[in-house]
């Protein structure tokens, strides 16, 4: 199993947000995580990626056979864990090109490789930009600065394409995207899918899951996964909302 989360408890400022969560992801799989606002989806993503302040109070996160709880965020990233942020961050004055080159080279250094030659890097940038159809000029601008909501989300997928992660987590990458952009993002993700990597897609909407078809759908509620199923579960949620599952859960 690529990622195996066992009985995970996560607290922020001493307040427990994730409360005994289990989730297993194999290579080649796409898992969708759905659930009402404020139930802990982004918190789960932060805990997996190692954000400081998200304290794992109990449980384990096994990734590639190692318990990565306590690992610094950059090490997890360099081991192939990627997060497409729900709210991408602006870094004024740092060009996307410079940012990406720094990231790629950090990853290469971690893997004992020399920095990427400039020509190879530029070629790679071109290819990946085309893949997610992002505007040529966007990469000359500062990281996310002044990007529209949709551009920011596309930019996350662009970075994912550049870094070629093994375990990618997309946190509401679909929100704020117009129909065309949604298709582009989904196409990008689908092209990056291989039998060697896996995706966790956090979303509120079925329409994304029409395009990125999940193998499993999980409902996160109150810090736990309270129901799992196949892609049909998402359709059912779209139709009936969360209330019936909450009721089921409470009984």
């Amino acid at each position: 199993m690529l990622l195996n989360i066992k009985n995970l408890h996560v607290a922020i400022d001493g307040k427990e947000i994730i409360r005994g969560l289990n989730l297993g992801v194999n290579k080649g799989e796409v898992h969708a995580i759905m659930g009402p606002n404020g139930t802990g989806k982004s918190t789960l993503a932060a805990a997996i990626t190692g954000r400081e302040g998200y304290e794992v109070t109990a449980g384990e996160i096994w990734y590639k056979g190692k318990n990565i709880v306590g690992w610094p965020a950059e090490e997890r990233a360099n081991e192939g864990i990627f997060l497409s942020f729900q709210y991408p961050v602006e870094i004024p004055g740092v060009s996307m090109t410079n940012f990406m080159r720094t990231a790629i080279n950090a990853q290469r250094e971690y893997r004992g490789l020399a920095p990427i030659p400039a020509a190879d890097f530029l070629k790679m940038m071109d290819e990946k930009k085309r893949l997610v159809e992002i505007h040529e000029k966007l990469t000359n601008r500062s990281v996310n600065e002044g990007f529209s909501g949709g551009e920011k989300k596309k930019n996350e997928i662009f970075q994912m394409a550049m870094l070629e992660p093994t375990m990618a987590i997309l946190d509401e990458t679909d929100s704020g995207l117009d129909i065309d952009a949604l298709k582009v993002v989904a196409k990008g993700v689908n092209q990056l899918r291989t039998s060697e990597n896996a995706f966790i897609v956090i979303t509120h909407y079925q329409r994304l899951l029409d395009l990125i078809v999940p193998d499993f759908v999980h409902v996160l509620f109150d810090g736990r996964i309270i129901k799992s199923g196949g892609r049909n579960l998402a359709l059912e949620l779209e139709e009936k909302g969360y209330e019936w599952i909450k009721q089921e859960h409470l009984i």
């Binding site: 950059e74 360099n78 961050v89 004055g93 720094t102």
Partner: protein, 483 residues
């Protein structure tokens, strides 16, 4: 939760190593320790100066004796004992050197280690260098090439000998020895520095640069630079500096004067990297500098760009006196302080001529337990109709043990003038750091990246040769400032 990783990160990152802290063991000739009229006579004699130069020095010295050290800057340091300082130190010339042009191999080696090649063959074409070690200039490259264009670029001492009329005319014309305490001191004991004269209509074909190196112990460095750009000329000048790591503080008090005539443009760039002292604040250079440019002619322009990363104390206000109508003054500054460093820096823009314009962009970055102040004066005189100033002063804090202060002074005596001032204070956000970390970039690199981005506007003003160095330096200075 310790929701602010900056704190620990800052503590760790501030364990940086100063890369230029080595000492070259060469035989040095020094003046007796302390300062009296005899010291001044000694220096003047060593430099084989004409009588008028000695007179100038003595007048300055006598004036200095009447002054007291200024205390208004937002900096703290123990009183300097001027009788403990050696005011002149020069590497001894080895007898066996065949020509006067030859440089002691040990000195060549010293500059090579600093990344400055004095060998014209190996040197990046496009930059002429004047290399100054302690109190003397050891070599100025490309003088012949420059002479073909009528450009004079030599050490100040040579200029006193070979171009006395120019020195007499301009020395002290922008910064008189009566200007302030440190200017008077410098005028009395200044050792070496550079002189540049760009004749009418000449666009200087090379970047000119001076590299200052303090080497000897217990010595002060008092350099003096004078740049004169005649009508319709252009020059870009760069200045760099380093010093060995020592436990005791060392004094550096320089003067830079620039004169720009009609339609002339001078760009002056500094990367200041004197030894900043250790993590506990022990040692480091006291950097008290008076830099001023006079836009004497109409449509003239002087731009100061500075990247200040070194020194235990920096006290420095590169200024522009905008005398000619339509003249332009610019000041772009990045000042980084870490550990116990203190910087009180900024500029003065004095608008005298009509329709004069000035721009001030200052980016202060403080980490560790350091203190970083911007102090700036914009003064618009009654005759300076339709003048404009724009000032932007930003402070970035890394951690919560450091300080950032802004002291803007505005004196506007003309109704038709416009002054705009903007100021911001920000912290590196946890969100930005995590975003970088999540892309595999460790926190130290992330801070370097974010800080360089923050300073981009200023770094972009540096000549190419300097920009890359400056970027590296910013990251290195903040190494160990976050954990």
């Amino acid at each position: 939760m310790d929701n602010n990783p900056n704190n620990n990160i800052l503590e760790e990152v501030t364990s940086n190593e100063y890369k230029f802290g080595f000492f070259t063991d060469i035989e040095t000739e020094t003046a007796p320790v302390g300062l009296t009229e005899d010291t001044i006579r000694f220096i003047s004699a060593k430099k084989e100066e004409p009588e008028w130069m000695l007179e100038f020095r003595l007048k300055a010295y006598r004036h200095w004796l009447t002054l007291t050290e200024p205390v208004w800057a937002h900096i703290k340091y123990p009183a300097i004992n001027y009788q403990d300082i050696i005011f002149y130190a020069a590497p001894k010339r080895k007898k066996e050197l065949s020509s006067l042009d030859e440089v002691d191999p040990e000195l060549l080696d010293t500059f090579n280690k600093l990344g400055i090649s004095l060998d014209e063959q190996k040197k990046l074409s496009g930059v002429a260098v004047d290399a100054v070690i302690d109190s003397v200039s050891v070599k100025t490259t490309f003088q012949d090439t420059l002479a073909k264009h009528g450009v004079i670029f030599c050490s100040f001492s040579e200029a006193v000998k070979n171009h006395p009329e120019l020195i007499k005319k301009y020395m002290g014309s922008v910064v008189p020895y009566t200007d302030n305490y440190f200017a008077a001191l410098n005028s009395a004991v200044f050792s070496d520095g550079s002189f540049c004269h760009i004749p009418k209509g000449v666009r200087c074909p090379l970047e000119l640069s001076t590299y200052f190196r303090i080497n000897a112990a217990n010595t002060g460095q008092f350099e003096r630079t004078l740049i004169v750009a005649e009508d319709n000329s252009y020059v870009s000048y760069m200045e760099g500096c380093t010093a060995p790591m020592r436990d005791e503080n060392q004094l550096h008090a320089a003067i830079v004067e620039i004169v720009a005539m009609d339609n002339a443009e001078v760009k002056y760039s500094t990367v200041q990297n004197w030894y900043p002292g250790d993590k506990e604040g022990k040692g480091g250079v006291y950097n008290f500098v008076t830099k001023r440019g006079l836009c004497k002619g109409k449509n003239s322009k002087i731009a100061w760009t500075q990247v200040e990363t070194g020194s235990a104390i920096t006290w420095k206000y590169p200024s522009c006196v905008l005398m000619g109508d339509n003249s332009v003054g610019e000041f772009y500054s990045v000042a980084v302080t870490n550990h116990h460093q203190q910087a009180d820096t900024g500029t003065k823009m004095i608008h005298i001529g009509k329709n004069t314009r000035s721009t001030i962009i200052s980016k202060g970055i403080s980490a560790g337990k350091s203190n970083n102040s911007y102090r700036g004066l914009v003064k618009i005189l009654p005759g300076a109709s339709s003048s404009r100033n724009f000032s932007q002063c930003d402070s970035l804090l890394l951690g919560d043990k450091c300080g950032a202060h802004t002291f803007p002074y505005i004196q506007a005596n003309n109704e038709s003038s416009i002054i705009e001032h903007e100021a911001t204070t920000s912290k590196i956000s946890e969100d930005q750091l995590f975003y970088c970390n999540q892309r595999g970039i460790d926190t130290e690199k992330a801070i370097g990246l974010i800080v360089n981005g923050y300073a981009r506007e200023v770094l972009n003003k540096l000549p190419m040769e300097f920009a890359v160095e400056a970027q590296k330096l910013l990251s290195i200075t903040l190494e160990g400032s976050v954990g």
